[in-house]
């Protein structure tokens, strides 16, 4: 194997709120927001998988509405994962304001805890706006589930 030349250092490093260097196109630049949090029901009764997925759909609907209200002009994607350890996990994705979320994988209930991972890439809204929309949707549309 021949030796390879030295690779140049990266031009930037991502953070939780990613600052992607301007890509080589003249159009709008994406805003990236990622969130990972444990969810629990507290003292409430454990929920079925169907109830959890219902809450997830409500969350996504609420988040898309909040993003649009916040000035978002284009959804790159809103995707993520709900991981319930031994009870399974589901992956979800939606790519338009009126789109139906695609949900793959499986979870079996009853469930009292899970971990939510969310990745949002959108255009036309700034990072604080995306974070505010996400926090608002999580407080209003997750039913009895609460971030820990």
């Amino acid at each position: 194997m021949s030796a390879s030349p030295e690779v140049p250092s990266g031009s930037h490093q991502g953070a939780h709120h990613h600052d992607h260097a301007p890509v080589r196109h003249e159009g709008p630049q994406p805003v990236v927001y990622a969130l990972q949090t444990d969810l629990s029901l507290g003292a409430a009764e454990p929920q079925s998988a169907e109830e959890l997925l219902g809450a997830l759909r409500e969350l996504l609907g609420g988040l898309l509405a909040a993003l649009r209200d916040g000035g978002c002009s284009l959804i790159g994607h809103v995707k993520g994962m709900v991981d319930a350890d031994d009870c399974g996990r589901v992956f979800f994705s939606v790519t338009s304001f009126g789109g139906t979320p695609s949900i793959k994988g499986s979870i079996e209930g009853p469930l009292a805890r899970c971990r939510l991972t969310l990745n949002v890439i959108v255009f036309g809204i700034d990072e604080p706006g995306v974070e505010a929309a996400t926090r608002a949707a999580m407080s209003l549309h997750l039913g009895p589930w609460r971030p820990e």
Partner: protein
Amino acid sequence: MYVLTAGETVRLILVAGFLGSGKTSLILELARRLVAASCQVAVIENEIGDVGIDGRYIADHGILVRELFGGCVCCSLSVSLVDTLKQLQRAPAPDYVLLEPTGIAQPSDLVATVRRYATWVDWIRVITLLDAERYEMLSEVLGPLLGGQIADADVVAVNKIDTVEPACVERVVADVRSLRPCVPVVRISTQQQTNLEALMQVVT
């Protein structure tokens, strides 16, 4: 059909395309077909954000995955990409590496990095995946980005043909043809597994 010829080391298939075009699902289907043909496969997943989702999804299907977070392999994570390819090259080296960059990556930047710094990868193919549902809308907003991804393609795959009218698919194909008259174009549905073998044959 997919077996490497004597002297080849690693084949790299780069699946480019805007966010939501179906890159992860296509990579999983390509990987399944290569594994079924007795090829060793690894996937490199690149996420702009600091959390990995697609890599976990593919790994859940028994495919070897390496994830690169928090940046884009076409710029900030180019070093990590080369390092990852180098790690994968160590035995047992895969026959194929399937690379999913972020949806805003320019394939030409990636190819240039690999050709310059990962010289043991001597076979690279770029599939640019287009979302037939959103192509016309996206091209109005992000035309230069999509045009760049099409310009860099060895093969263009128009995905989600099962969800739109045939005329819509043909408008997408016509637009591709206006940019790249000679590039192979394959109309596919990853969801319905339509024309994926045809795509594999064109790519490999």
